[in-house]
């Protein structure tokens, strides 16, 4: 029997973008306070108005995605998943031309067991898979399989999808 296919997102699912945002913010604005993201709020929304617009530029810079921290337990669980399922990494990386090489290199460092054949950089996620793990519910709208919404502050108010808070929870559901 063919294995089921899983599509796994990168940012805020495998790679901790918000921790990088916070570190950059503290470095560039050591005197400004940063409040917590509220449920349903994007990171940019918590920045002071005079900083927010400029801050978003970081994500277009070379290197931004190269040194992101790995989300807790993701390496171990994705490795175990990749034995039972056909695991694809599916990132909407095409929005950020300068992220492409960084993301390839980051994956090679932290998820070396994912071959290039199973890596997909796209915009719209029109992938033919059975399960999709993603923090952006917009990626589920055209998807007919089983969506798993990976918790991130910005998506905490969304109730219509099956949710996973941690990679331990993904393991409990899928392994």
């Amino acid at each position: 029997m063919e294995k089921q296919r899983i599509a796994i997102d990168m940012d805020e699912v495998l790679a901790d973008v918000i921790a990088k945002f916070e570190a950059l913010y503290k470095k560039n604005h050591p005197k400004e306070a940063l409040r917590q993201q509220q449920d349903g709020e994007e990171f940019y929304a918590i920045l002071p108005d005079h900083i927010s617009g400029d801050f978003r530029k970081h994500i277009y810079e070379k290197g931004f995605f190269r040194d992101l921290e790995v989300i807790k337990d993701s390496q171990r669980v994705v490795k175990e998943l990749s034995e039972k399922y056909d695991v694809f990494i599916v990132s909407a990386a095409m929005e950020f031309r300068n992220s492409l090489e960084d993301k390839v290199d980051w994956l090679a460092d932290h998820f070396p067991f994912i071959p290039w054949q199973r890596t997909i950089f796209c915009g719209l996620k029109i992938v033919n898979v059975d399960i999709m793990i993603d923090d952006r519910s917009r990626n589920f709208t055209a998807f007919n399989g089983r969506p798993l919404l990976f918790t991130s502050p910005h998506n905490k108010l969304i109730t219509e999808f099956e949710r996973v808070d941690t990679w331990e929870e993904v393991a409990a559901k899928l392994l």
Copy 2:
């Protein structure tokens, strides 16, 4: 009604890789003759043995994919297709890490009407589309839609797929 989706390959469908190979070969080996590719034969197969292995390295170099010629009529026909269909560019670019930025920039130059949302760099083409235009029949094996095999010397002996020799033929079939 939703538009039908078309996945269009890049190399040897939109971008003339073989012309670049030939130009590189003539530049690097001005005294060696190059015979024509026979039906069913890959470009590498026509190179003298002592050159073939080394020659393949060009495809991994930065810049290789940046200045490819555009296949005849493809710009006009893809533009017209993109009005009637949801057109996605789907390239197995992940095999070549150094091609990613070159391919993005090449598309921006020659197919500026294709947004990042409709550009996909992958390995296995597990895309959910209705029609796929590709020169590699291996990309059709897991595909349930309508495959159109775009003629290239290497695929001329393949008979089991609907074939298009030119972009004019694609237009005649799909427009």
